[in-house]
């Protein structure tokens, strides 16, 4: 079972206390964007085998959305961070570099 530390209330929460919210850091495209951009935003996903960044909601706790860095191959959790950001904090990226040298996810590495 996945266990995340909610970055807002600081509680260690089990997966049953949380709701998964899909891929993180999506750039939203709306009216005026090209068909490809809109399709990419709505449907195409990284779906990596390895390091992944996701949105989760602490639904049975503080109710807030947060971000999590996780490995989809081992279920290892690298850390959680605030939802009010466009990219993972340097500290989490550093932690992933130490454990998964050469990792890459979209334009993060």
């Amino acid at each position: 079972m996945l266990i995340f530390t909610c970055p807002y209330c600081g509680i260690e929460a089990d997966e049953t206390e949380l709701t998964p919210g899909g891929e993180a850091h999506l750039k939203r495209f709306g009216p005026g964007s090209s068909d490809e951009e809109f399709e990419g935003y709505l449907f195409n996903r990284e779906n990596p085998k390895g390091v992944h960044f996701e949105r989760w909601r602490h639904v049975y706790g503080c109710g807030k959305w947060f971000h999590a860095a996780r490995c989809t191959l081992t279920l290892e959790v690298f850390g959680t961070y605030s939802a009010q950001t466009f990219e993972p904090p340097e500290e989490i990226k550093e932690r992933i570099r130490a454990k998964r040298p050469g990792w890459k996810w979209r334009n993060f590495s």
């Binding site: 079972m1 996945l2 997966e15 709701t19 490809e36 449907f43 996903r45 779906n47 085998k49």
Partner: protein, 414 residues
Amino acid sequence: MKRYSVFAVAREALRYHQGWGRAWRSPEPKKKYEAIIIGAGGHGLATAYYLGKNHGLKNVAILEKGWLGGGNTGRNTTIIRSNYLQDASAAIYEKARSLYETMSQDLNYNVMFSPRGVMMLAQTQHEIRGYKRTAHANALQGVSTEFITPDRVKSLVPIINIDGPRYPVLGALWQPRGGTARHDAVAWGYARACSEMGMDVIQQCEVTGIRRQNGQVQGVETSKGSIDCEKLGIVVAGHTGVLADMAGFRMPIESVALQALVSEPIKPCMDVVVMANTVHGYMSQSDKGEMVIGGGADGFNNYTQRGSFHHVEETVRALIETFPIISRLKMLRWWGGIVDMTGDRSPILSTTPVKNIFINCGWGTGGFKAIPGSGWAMAELMAKGHSSLTEEFGLNRFKEGKFIDESVAAGVAH
């Protein structure tokens, strides 16, 4: 290769079963093939089989990272049905179901297809309306289903509790010609038939790269060396994203874990497949007597082939209300597979941005039932460049917004 028959059994019985031989060859890869299929699961092997049988394309290799049928083909609950709402889905699933009926004879391999009937319980007013609509749609599509009363449900499944308390059984969508089959035998039967046609089934051969030139496929890099090909079919379910990345395009696919379990074996008590979609569980009894139970998929990306315990707990808890008899059974085995989910919960059988690469994926939680139909359609697509069965399952449907929205329509545990 020897043909299996009652005479073969008698002959071997007289010589201590020493003469059976291997069912398929395990050759080293050649330098070049007309077509390569990546993925020797049910769908990949069926694709190769129908390429040879229907289209005469026999210079084919099927590459498998692990072993034959060791992915989702060996990790499902073996249910076969075709009671879908949308025309495109009903067409391909009904094609598959009808091919299952003659598969044992066709492959000369007993796949133990058991058309025992599939029942989808209606436990809310909404489900009654939904399933009646599906039954009407199926009548128009030529798929034989009917909506049956709770009394009929009880007579078909005596162990069911139709009175609730929380979710009484209000009726069911009944497909008498649905059923189950032996999942491994489907992969083994196709592999044997492919090998007999001269195709190379190459196990423990992982594809590590896809070579392209001028937007066209040249070949693949594998753990057993470089192999050239004219056409490439990617049929890898959960690892579709990984292979698409090698070929340089993106897919509208997310890989998640779907779990199932079996109980200890008990005496025969249920001879149909029952799906209870409101409470999210389905159950049948295997030939060995185990109750085979499946439920919903996990909600997050996962490549570990194991899922979260609480999903299994929810599934079993829900089924116990409808089947009180199973409450004291012990769990015998529990497993997970990585399923490839699309946005509209319908598969993708399509050409790709790279010329001569074809892709067959997105079967999500319902791939086993579709194996022969999927292989039939994919083979036609690869051989001719188009197929009436795959037309609506193209990759472009996401851009065009022409979804085949079974996630709402099928009313099934997704």
